[in-house]
Amino acid sequence: MKLAVCVKRVPDSEARIKIGADGSAIDGSGVKFVLNPYDEYAVEEALKLKEAAGAGEVVVISVGPDAAQETIRTALAMGADRGVLLRSETLPLDPLPVARALAAEVKDGSFDLVLFGKMAIDDSSHAVGTMVAELLELPCVSAVAHLSVADGSGTAEREVEGGVEVVEFALPAVVTADKGLNEPRYPALRGIMMAKKKQLEVKDAGLEAGGLEVVSLSHPPERKAGRIVGEGAEAVPALIEALKNEAKVL
């Protein structure tokens, strides 16, 4: 089984975000970058599918700066076979150019399944995987929490407000991973050593600019300082009072 996984390098979820001097992007210095958490589920699922099939290849693809090679190596250390970096020092906020670059890369790869995270935790567009599927006219299920694949077809479940959609599709297809799909493995030392020797091809992404122009990047307005209304059950009437007459939410 041949699988592709698209992964993004993103700031760690704990990272403090500083705004760069020009006010249009973050200052990445001192920020720890990681493999996007949702992409870990996608990598894990690809590895499991390959293991279940008994043979195949898992190719990890990322669009990003040179440093995204580390991100690809993390996925290789988990067990993926080889990597491709489509190099671009900056990434547009409009997801379509990245989707086009990835679609062009996977188009002729004869992959049975192309996996994504459901969203990147930096820009949270929730879009790139679904867009790639549309560009390649492949079946696609997004935000998948349960997947089964057999005999050239698949069934996926996705959570929606107040229910779970069960979706059937034929391979080749695109799936984007939600939390709950699996438990991603940690790269073992052996995996980390082996990853260093795995093939990682680097080429230029040649991204278009996209249709969103940054006016500014700023910190959200601080929430105005709240207050402790009291201690224990005795404080409940004061809280009710505040909710009713100050916040006017009761």
């Binding site: 567009s125 929730h126 229910g163 409940v236 505040a242």
Partner: protein
């Protein structure tokens, strides 16, 4: 014509409340562009566009077909992309919208501004969108045309604006979807969704045991609220993932958010930043949740919550 297409959302033939927010955003842009708002309603036959004129729809397009009763991604995307030559398409960033918006953008070859919290027209379309889990906010000018905007639920206040709202049937081509939704499993008991509710009561590890969430369900019942959870209790299997609030769960923007026995880790706070009023109940006065809470009670939740439920019932009944 610089008309704006507003894709509305229904479930089981009932228009979702978020649709009025979508229409309001579309109306603002159409006013700036000097165009009309066309509302697209996709669903089974028998749907109605009644009342949409009140929220600013000049025209209502009904795409009705038995096969469109439940969300079918490919078919919905095909209908939306064939609705007409619209320079701007607006969708709510719900579970459905998050799936549909990028599909429509890709089909139209247009830009996508996802999960925006403000939409305005200033010599062009300007949106704001939170990034890095709400730790920063972009203000963006949408230069691409066509463009698709998905709007975060509860971020825009619906406004009435009386327009004609004339209804037109839209032809729906028969099609075999590439992927087919074969079933929509409903939970045993229908629960309000945290991302949609205007009041959310969330519990964390402070509840000690899954059974104790009964206390929160009582409080939620009194408030007409949805129950949410921290990741710690979701990972422990106490609560379903659908209830998780935060960076890797749902982002919520309710009028009132009550955090009970939740410490307020940065990833949890990422999900509640746009809540209007936050209440925290925690026994640790130094818990980070108090830094973002508008009102806090320091104390044992097992004493505070039952009392709070009782008092709220009194308010609601009185």
């Amino acid at each position: 014509m610089p008309d704006v297409l507003a894709i509305l959302e229904q479930r089981g033939g009932t228009l979702k409340k978020v649709s009025h927010e979508t229409l309001t955003a579309a109306r603002h842009l159409a006013d700036g562009l000097n165009g009309e708002v066309h509302a697209l309603l996709i669903g089974a036959a028998g749907g109605s566009g009644d009342g949409l004129g009140t929220f600013g729809a000049d025209k209502v397009l009904l795409a009705a077909d038995e096969g469109l009763r439940d969300y079918q991604a490919d078919r919905y995307a095909a209908v939306a992309a064939s609705a007409g030559d619209y320079p701007v398409v607006v969708i709510a960033a719900t579970a459905l919208g998050k799936d549909l918006a990028p599909r429509v953008a890709a089909r139209l070859g247009g830009a996508l501004a996802a999960d925006v919290t403000e939409v305005r027209y200033e010599d062009g379309i300007v949106v704001t969108r939170p990034v890095y889990a709400g730790k920063a906010i972009y203000t963006l000018k949408v230069t691409g045309s066509p463009c698709v905007l998905s709007v975060r639920p509860n971020a825009i206040t619906p406004e009435q604006s009386e327009k004609a709202g004339t209804t037109e049937m839209m032809p729906v081509a028969a099609a075999d979807p590439r992927a087919k939704t074969v079933e929509v499993k409903q939970p045993e008991k229908a629960a309000l969704d945290v991302a949609e509710a205007s009041v959310v009561v969330s519990g964390g590890r402070g509840l000690k045991e899954p059974e104790n969430f009964g206390l929160l369900e009582d409080l939620a019942g009194a408030l007409g609220a949805a129950v949410g959870a921290s990741r710690a209790v979701v990972d422990a299997g106490w609560r379903p993932h659908a209830e998780q609030v935060g960076q890797t769960g749902k982002v919520v923007s309710p009028n009132l958010y009550v955090a009970v026995g939740i410490s307020g880790a940065i990833q949890h706070l990422a999900g509640i930043r746009t809540a209007k009023t936050i209440v925290a109940i925690n026994k640790d006065p130094d818990a980070p949740i108090f830094k973002v809470a508008d009102y806090g009670i320091v104390g044992d939740l097992f004493e505070v919550v039952p009392k709070l439920t009782e008092e709220i019932r009194k308010v609601r009944e009185g």
